[in-house]
Amino acid sequence: MEAKKGPYLYGLIAEFNNEHEVVEAAKKVKSAGYTKTDAFSPFPMHAIDHALGIWDPRIKWFIFCGGLFGCIFGFSMQSYISAIDYPLNVGGRPMISWPQFIPVTFECTILGAALTAVFGMMALNGLPQLYHPVFSVPGFERASQDKFFLYIESKDPKFQLEATKKLLEELGPNAVSIVEDMRDDH
C-alpha cells in the first residue's frame, strides 16, 4: 500500500549495545507514534514488551481450548470404547468406571494443552520461517548473542524513510540499516 517506498523496502533497523539503550529507544519510538515496530534481543525482556506495547493474550485461550478438547476427547473416547463399542465387564466395575478413567483423561488434557502451546506459539509467530529480510542486515547475527535491535516496519503509517531514519539515528545506535528483501524472486 505504501507504493512510493518501493516493493523491496521492509523497514529500518537500529543496532544497540545493551538492553537499557534499546528500551529507552523503544519508548521514544513508541511515543513518536510508531505502531508497526519490533525489537530483536538475545533473551526475552518484559521491559521491551511494555515499551513497545506488545500484548497478545490469544495463546492462553488457545491452550485452554486445547486442554479442554483433550479432556473431553479423553473421557468420551474411553466411555465410548468401554461402554458402547465393546462393553466389557472387568471385575464387576461399572461400564463407565469414572475413577479409573481419570488418569487417561488427565494425560489427554495435558497432551492437548501442550501440543496447542507449542504449535499455537509457532503458528502465531509464523515459524518455521527460515528466511526473513532482517537476516540480511549486517551484524544481525549478534541479535542472538549480545546485541539489541529496534525495527520499524515500512508498513507503519508514520513511516517516512528519511524522517524515520533520522529519528532512529538520534537514539544513539551503533548503526541504522535499511531492511530489504535480497531475494531475486521477490
Partner: protein, 393 residues
C-alpha cells in the same frame, strides 16, 4: 515488650475486635453442647469431635505454615507470619488440647476399640491394643499438643525478640529448630490423625490419610490467611504490600493446595476403589449411601473443580475482592469435607443441630485466643524488609 505492643498496626485492622463477640458465641455454643450432652452424649460427641477437627486442622495448619516459613524463609511467608503465629501459637494449641478433654473422658462413646467387650471378641483389635488403648491414646494426644505448643512458643519468642533486637542470629536459630520440628510435625500428625479419626473405624486404615490431612490443613490455613490479608488490604500495614504480586502468590498457594487435595483424595479413592478389598472399603462404604454420597460428589465439585477453575485464571489472583470470595468458599468447603470425613463413621443419621453448635463453640474460643494473640505483635516482622521493599520496586 510494651514498646512493641504500642504499634500502629492494629489501629486500622482491628483484628482483635473479634475477641468479645467470638467469646460470647463460643460460650453459647459450648453451653449448647453441654446441654446436648446431657440429652444424647454420642450425638454431641460426634459433633464435638468434628468441630475439634476443623479448628485443630486450622491451628496445626497455621503452626505448620509457620514452620515451613522458618525453613524456607520465602517472602510470601512474611505477609502471613504473624497471622499463623497467632493462629498456630502455643496458646491456641494448648486451648485446642484442653478442649480435647470431653473426648478423652468419653473414649468408649466414640471409639469402639476402647470398649472392653468389643475388644474381647475382636482379635484384630487385640492385635492393635498395644497402640490403640486409652492411656496411650490420651498420652499421645497430650504429649503432641504440649510438644507442638512448646516449639510454637520458642519460635514465637524468637521472632518477637528479633523484632526488638534485630539480631540476625535468630534466623539461623529458628531454622535449626523448625527444620527437625517439621519432620516431627509430619510424623506426629500422621499418628494423631490415625488416633482421632482413622481409629473411629478401627479396622480401616490408609497410609495416605496423614498426608491427606496435612494437605487439608494447608488449604484451610491459606484460605484463612488470604481472607484476612485481602479483606484488610486497605488497612495499614497490609496496604503497604498487598499488591498483585502478593495476591498472586497467595492465590497460587491455594491453587497448589487445592490440586494436592484433589491428588491425595483421588489417589486414596482410586486405589481403594480398584482394590475393592473388604477391610479397605469400609470407609467409603459408610460414605456411599444416600445423602453422604451426594455430599461426597458435592465435595469433589466444590472443593476441587470450582476453586481450580477460578484460581486457574490470572484475573482471580489479581483481584483481592475475587480472592476473598474464593478463600471464603474454600474455608466453607473444608468444613463440609471434614464433616464428610468424621461424621459418617459415628453417626449414620446425618445432620444434627449440635454440629453447628460445636463448630461455633470451639470456633468462638479459637477466635478469642487468636484475637488476643495477634495484637501482641506487629502484623509483619520488622526485621525483614523484603515485603515493603518489593512494593516500592
Amino acid at each position: 515488650m510494651a514498646g512493641i505492643m504500642k504499634n500502629t498496626d492494629h489501629i486500622e485492622t482491628r483484628l482483635d475486635a473479634v475477641r468479645m463477640p467470638a467469646l460470647m458465641l463460643g460460650l453459647v455454643g459450648l453451653g449448647a453442647c453441654a446441654y446436648s450432652y446431657s440429652l444424647d452424649p454420642k450425638n454431641m460427641l460426634a459433633s464435638y469431635l468434628y468441630a475439634l477437627m476443623v479448628w485443630v486442622s486450622l491451628t496445626l495448619g497455621c503452626f505448620g505454615i509457620s514452620l515451613l516459613h522458618h525453613v524456607v524463609r520465602g517472602k510470601w511467608g512474611l505477609s502471613l507470619l504473624r497471622l499463623v503465629e497467632a493462629g498456630g501459637g502455643h496458646l491456641n494449641l494448648l486451648t485446642m488440647g484442653a478442649l480435647f478433654t470431653p473426648i478423652l473422658l468419653n473414649m468408649q462413646t466414640l471409639y469402639k476399640w476402647a470398649i472392653p467387650e468389643v475388644l474381647a471378641h475382636d482379635h484384630v483389635l487385640q492385635h492393635k491394643a498395644i497402640y490403640l488403648n486409652v492411656p496411650f491414646f490420651v498420652g499421645r494426644t497430650v504429649f503432641f499438643f504440649l510438644s507442638w505448643a512448646f516449639v510454637a512458643w520458642v519460635l514465637r519468642r524468637s521472632t518477637l525478640r528479633q523484632d526488638e533486637t534485630n539480631n540476625d542470629a535468630e534466623y539461623a536459630w529458628r531454622t535449626n529448630i523448625a527444620t527437625p520440628t517439621l519432620v516431627y510435625f509430619v510424623l506426629s500428625i500422621t499418628s494423631a490423625i490415625t488416633d482421632w479419626v482413622m481409629s473411629l473405624d478401627a479396622h480401616w486404615f490408609s497410609t495416605m490419610y496423614g498426608v491427606w490431612f496435612i494437605v487439608g490443613q494447608g488449604l484451610i490455613t491459606m484460605a484463612f490467611c488470604t481472607y484476612i490479608i485481602c479483606s484488610k488490604r486497605d488497612c495499614s500495614p497490609y496496604k503497604d504490600f498487598v499488591n498483585p504480586d502478593l495476591t498472586k502468590d497467595l492465590g497460587n498457594f491455594m491453587f497448589m493446595f487445592t490440586m494436592l487435595w484433589g491428588y491425595t483424595s483421588l489417589s486414596q479413592y482410586l486405589i481403594i476403589w480398584s482394590g475393592n478389598l473388604p477391610e479397605f472399603i469400609s470407609y467409603y462404604v459408610d460414605r456411599a449411601e444416600g445423602y453422604w454420597n451426594v455430599m461426597g460428589a458435592f465435595n469433589i465439585v466444590s472443593q476441587f473443580f470450582i476453586p481450580f477453575i477460578l484460581l486457574l485464571a490470572p484475573r482471580t489472583k489479581a483481584l483481592p475482592n475475587m480472592l476473598i470470595k474464593v478463600a471464603g468458599w474454600i474455608f466453607f468447603v473444608r468444613l463440609l469435607d471434614l464433616y464428610w470425613n468424621v461424621i459418617p463413621t459415628i453417626r449414620s443419621s446425618g445432620f444434627h443441630w449440635t454440629d453447628i453448635a460445636a463448630v461455633v463453640g470451639i470456633g468462638g474460643v479459637w477466635f478469642f485466643v487468636f484475637g488476643t494473640e495477634v495484637v501482641k505483635a506487629r502484623l509483619t516482622p520488622q526485621y525483614d524488609k523484603r515485603l515493603t521493599e518489593v512494593a516500592h520496586h
